[in-house]
Symmetry: C2
């Protein structure tokens, strides 16, 4: 079924972590993201440009909402997820240096076929966190099907 | 450790699904998102404004990269994850009608305390998909800690 509607953007991207204090330290302190909300052991939310990064504790978000005014559906995954943040070529150099200084291992650092660079590391919950140049996707589209 | 660096945005948000054909039909046809790449049973990627939505099959992405030139780290979660797309008030009405016509149940539809509306549904992999007004986060910040 076709439609003329299409999502104009991602408002919230999610990751899962059972230790929100470690997540808050990593995303808030080491990555320098602005914390927007923290609700106990349920979630901690950050801003990344025009998108929110939501870090949820799946042990809590799997429970049904107890608030009839805010019937947020349950969810909660386990295992390593993935997120990628935008970075310029200059920022990638700075991130690589900063993360290494913080004792975080750069797990991979390579150029994609279109020349865009990505670096990869792990957050405290072992999620795969990437920083990549926007031109990986937005200067030169990969249209293979 | 403080830093002046901060991610300028989310370049890639991820979801996981073991049936990529169903994911492609849902995100590509029903949500009308532009497909950017599909690699067999490993992944299907879509564009959502200035962010990519990556849908991965965790059975495949957990395997080590076999390409020494592209040593993409492994990842792969299971269970229900969450994503939220931006929508205007008018688009929310249109999405609700369109999704219902497509036989997709609107699981929740409510107003947050700041007046922003969200609707929630499930993708074929049971991920929690939300459409929300941007003012949920970006006109009026929630600064509770």
């Amino acid at each position: 079924m076709s439609t003329t509607l299409t999502p104009s953007g991602v408002l919230e991207a999610s990751l899962y972590a059972t230790d929100l204090n470690k997540a808050e330290e990593f995303y808030g302190e080491i990555l320098g993201m602005k914390k927007i909300a923290r609700i106990g052991e349920r979630h901690v939310f950050f801003r990344a440009g025009s998108t929110m990064l939501l870090v949820f504790n799946p042990m809590e978000t799997r429970k049904p909402s107890g608030n009839p005014d805010l019937p947020v559906p349950s969810h909660g995954s386990v295992g390593q997820s993935h997120i990628c943040f935008s970075a310029t070529a200059e920022e990638l150099d700075a991130w690589s240096g900063h993360l290494t200084e913080c004792g975080i291992k750069i797990e991979a650092d390579f150029l994609w076929p279109n020349g865009a660079r990505s670096i990869y590391l792990r957050d405290p919950a072992d999620n795969s966190v990437e920083f990549a140049e926007r031109r990986l996707w937005f200067d030169q589209e990969i249209t293979s099907s």
